[in-house]
C-alpha cells in the first residue's frame, strides 16, 4: 500500500536543553542517527508520543544544520507536559515536514530583514534567522527584535548573546516586559519598542508571537510606513492531520497546515478575522 502521511516514523531525542522555566529544546534524529527529513525554514512537524497525543510543532533548527532537527516546546498542554518530562534516549514519533515555510529563496532574497518575536514566538523564526546567518551574502541587513516577560523567559538567550550578537550584519534588540535586577537592556512591550526603534521601511518584517503582540506590532509597523506586502507572519491553529483534510485549521478557504503557516499580511487580510 502507498505511503501514508498519517503513519509516523520513530525518532529519538538525543538532547534536552532547558531554555526557560517552561520552554525546553529537544534535539531529534531518526533511528539511523540522521535527520528524519529535509525541511524549509518555517515548516512544522507533527510529533507525538503514542497514548499521549500528537501536536504540530515548528521546527526551530535551520535546514543548514545537517546533523539533527530541533523543536522548542513550551509546556502548556497534555503532550507538551509529557515531553517536558522526557530525557535523552526517549523515542517519539515524527511526521512531516508540513507547511509552506518562509520564502527565503524568493521574497526574502536580497532584502533587509527585521525579525520580531515575542516569547516562544522566536522558535519558528530561529530556523529562518539561522538560515539567513548561514547565507549572509544572499540577504541585506538583519535586525532581530525579541521580547519576553522577563529575562529568564528569553528563549535561546545564550545563542543570542554568544552567536547572533557577534554577527557583524545583525543588530539584536532585546526587551523584557518589566524592570528586573541584572537587566540593563530595554524594558517595555514589543509593539512600542518597534515604534521606538523607528525602522526604515526598506526592510521586510517577519513576525511571530502571541496574537495580541502581533496585532499591536502590525499597527506599529504600519504607522512606520510598512506596507502589508512587506510583512510576513506565521500562524498556528489546532491541527490533527497536518495535510489539509481533517478540516479544523482553516481560516476561510485556507488551511494553516498546508497553505500556511507563513502568510504575507496582505494575503491574511483577504481572509476572515477568525484566528
Amino acid at each position: 500500500m502507498n505511503n501514508e502521511a498519517l503513519i509516523p516514523q520513530v525518532c529519538v531525542i538525543t538532547n534536552v536543553r532547558v531554555d526557560t522555566p517552561d520552554v525546553k529544546t529537544f534535539r531529534v534524529v531518526a533511528l539511523d542517527g540522521k535527520k528524519p527529513f529535509v525541511h524549509k525554514p518555517g515548516q512544522c512537524a507533527m510529533i507525538s508520543m503514542p497514548g499521549v497525543g500528537e501536536a504540530m510543532i515548528s521546527i526551530t533548527s535551520s535546514p543548514t544544520n545537517e546533523e539533527y532537527i530541533e523543536f522548542s516546546i513550551k509546556r502548556c498542554g497534555c503532550f507538551t507536559e509529557w515531553i517536558h518530562q522526557a530525557e535523552a534516549g526517549q523515542q517519539i514519533t515524527v511526521r512531516g515536514p508540513y507547511g509552506n515555510g518562509f520564502p527565503v529563496d524568493t521574497a526574502f532574497k536580497g532584502q533587509n530583514l527585521v525579525f520580531i518575536a515575542g516569547g516562544i514566538g522566536l522558535a519558528p523564526l530561529r530556523s529562518v534567522i539561522n538560515y539567513v546567518r548561514h547565507f549572509p551574502e544572499r540577504y541585506g541587513t538583519v535586525d532581530i527584535v525579541y521580547g519576553a516577560r522577563s529575562m529568564g523567559d528569553l528563549v535561546y538567550y545564550k545563542e543570542i548573546i554568544d552567536e547572533w550578537c557577534k554577527d557583524s550584519n545583525i543588530n539584536v534588540h532585546l526587551t523584557i516586559d518589566r524592570e528586573e535586577e541584572g537587566w540593563d537592556g530595554h524594558v517595555g512591550f514589543i509593539p512600542n519598542f518597534v515604534k521606538e526603534l523607528n525602522f526604515s521601511t526598506d526592510k521586510t518584517a517577519v513576525l511571530c508571537g502571541p496574537p495580541i503582540m502581533i496585532k499591536f506590532t502590525l499597527e506599529g509597523l504600519k504607522s512606520l510606513g510598512f506596507k502589508e506586502t512587506q510583512i510576513f507572519t506565521t500562524l498556528e491553529l489546532r491541527m490533527k492531520c497536518a495535510i489539509g483534510k481533517c478540516g479544523r485549521c482553516n481560516i476561510g478557504s485556507k488551511y494553516v497546515c498546508k497553505d500556511g503557516p507563513v502568510f504575507r499580511l496582505d494575503e491574511l487580510d483577504e481572509l476572515p478575522d477568525e484566528y
Binding site: M1, N2, N3, E4, A5, L6, I7, P8, Q9, V10, M49, P50, G51, V52, G53, E54, C76, G77, T80, G89, Q90, Q91, I92, T93, P210, P211, E236, L237, R238, K240, C241, I243, K245, C246, G247, R248, C249, N250, G252, S253, L271, P272, E274, Y275
Partner: protein
C-alpha cells in the same frame, strides 16, 4: 440495458454475495440502513438510509496505526490491510455524488490511503429515485436523481429492476449474474424517469439555487448579521454533520488497549466547541462562529478550492434530522435573500 423481475432480485443478491460482500439497505427499528447481505434479507423501500453511504469509504471510526511502547522505545505497526471488493447496492444519486466531494478531499495529494483503499474496492450500484420527497433538493446542485452515477445505474419499476453498467467493475458484477438478467427496454426506463421528473417539479425545493454562493464570496457573507439569528437556537449537537454525506472533518486519537496503543480517527464536528480549542484559546468561541464555519465551508470555502463544486448534495437528511429544524436550505434562502 439489462433487467430482472423484483421477485428475482433475491437470487441476484444471493449470487453476488456468494462471490463478494454485498451491502443493501434494509429496514430496521432505527430506519433504513445498509447491512451486509445474508440470504433472506429484503431490500428497504425507503427513499434513503438514515445515515449516508459515506461510511463505506470514510467509516465513523477506523484505525490509523498501532504502536508498541516499551520503556523509551516505540514500534510503529502498519495495521492497514488491502480490502476485498464489495458491492454497495442501492445508493442514491445524491450519496453517489457525495463520493465525488469526498474524493476531492481524500484523493488529493497526499492521498489518504485508508479512503483510497476502500474506494478502489467499492463497487457502486446506484439506484434512481422514483419517489423524491419534500426534503429533497439534489437538483439545486445539478444532480439528476433519475440518472445516478456509479459503476452500475439502476431503475426500479413496479415489477422490475433495470441495470446499466457504467464501468468495467460494474460490467464484471453484471456478468456474474448474467443468467438471472434479461434484456430490458430503454423506453420503460425513460418513462419511469419522466414520471419522477414530474414529481420533482412539484416539490417545494425544486427552485432552490446555490447561484448566489460559491468561491470568492467570503467577504460577502462572513460578516452577514443574519448568522446571529440563524445560529441562535443551534444546540451544537452535531447531528447534521453526522448524517451529512459530505461532512468529512475528522479527529485523530490514541487508545491504550493495555497491550499497546491504537491510533484511530473518527468523525468530528465543526459544530463542537472543542473542535478548534487550543492551549492558548479558541478562534471559534461561540456557536455562531461554529455554525457559520459549517455553512461557509459547504457554500463558499469548498467550492473555492474545488472548481465551484458545492459541498452539499441536497439529500435532505439534515432537514429531516435537525432537532431545531435549522438547515442549509434556510441558510441559503436567508443569506441569498430569497425568503
Amino acid at each position: 440495458m439489462r433487467k430482472c423481475s423484483l421477485s428475482n432480485l433475491s437470487a441476484v443478491f444471493d449470487k453476488i454475495s456468494e462471490n463478494l460482500a454485498l451491502y443493501i439497505p434494509v429496514d430496521t427499528n432505527g430506519g433504513a440502513k445498509f447491512e451486509k447481505y445474508e440470504s433472506g434479507m429484503v431490500m428497504s423501500e425507503a427513499l434513503n438510509t438514515v445515515r449516508s453511504a459515506k461510511d463505506f469509504f470514510f467509516p465513523q471510526i477506523e484505525d490509523v496505526a498501532a504502536f508498541k511502547v516499551e520503556g523509551k522505545n516505540i514500534e510503529v505497526v502498519d495495521t492497514r490491510v488491502i480490502k476485498d471488493d464489495f458491492v454497495i447496492f442501492g445508493a442514491r444519486a445524491c450519496d453517489v455524488k457525495a463520493f465525488e466531494v469526498l474524493d476531492n478531499v481524500f484523493l488529493s495529494d497526499p492521498v489518504d490511503s485508508y479512503y483510497a483503499n476502500r474506494r478502489e474496492h467499492g463497487i457502486i450500484f446506484a439506484l434512481s429515485c422514483s419517489k423524491p420527497v419534500e426534503t429533497c433538493f439534489c437538483n439545486a446542485f445539478g444532480i439528476d436523481c433519475t440518472e445516478p452515477k456509479g459503476d452500475v445505474s439502476m431503475w426500479k419499476t413496479e415489477s422490475e429492476m433495470y441495470f446499466k453498467a457504467n464501468s468495467e467493475k460494474g460490467e464484471k458484477i453484471l456478468a456474474l449474474v448474467a443468467d438471472l438478467l434479461t434484456d430490458g427496454e430503454e423506453k420503460v426506463v425513460e418513462s419511469e424517469k419522466a414520471k419522477t421528473k414530474e414529481v420533482l417539479k412539484k416539490l417545494p425545493l425544486s427552485n432552490l439555487s446555490p447561484d448566489k454562493f460559491g468561491g470568492g464570496k467570503t467577504k460577502e457573507y462572513f460578516d452577514d448579521p443574519a448568522w446571529k439569528s440563524l445560529s441562535e437556537s443551534c444546540l451544537g449537537c452535531g447531528t447534521c454533520t453526522f448524517v451529512c454525506p459530505t461532512c468529512q472533518c475528522y479527529d485523530v486519537k490514541d487508545f491504550n488497549t493495555g497491550h499497546g496503543v491504537v491510533r484511530f480517527r473518527c468523525w468530528d464536528s465543526c459544530m463542537y466547541s472543542d473542535f478548534t480549542k487550543m492551549a492558548h484559546g479558541n478562534p471559534r468561541l461561540t456557536q455562531l462562529e461554529r455554525f457559520r464555519q459549517r455553512f461557509m465551508h459547504k457554500l463558499v470555502y469548498y467550492p473555492e478550492n474545488n472548481n465551484g463544486l458545492f459541498m452539499c448534495v441536497g439529500c435532505g437528511r439534515c432537514l429531516a434530522k435537525c432537532p431545531i429544524s435549522m438547515n442549509i436550505v434556510k441558510v441559503m434562502k436567508t443569506l441569498g435573500g430569497k425568503n
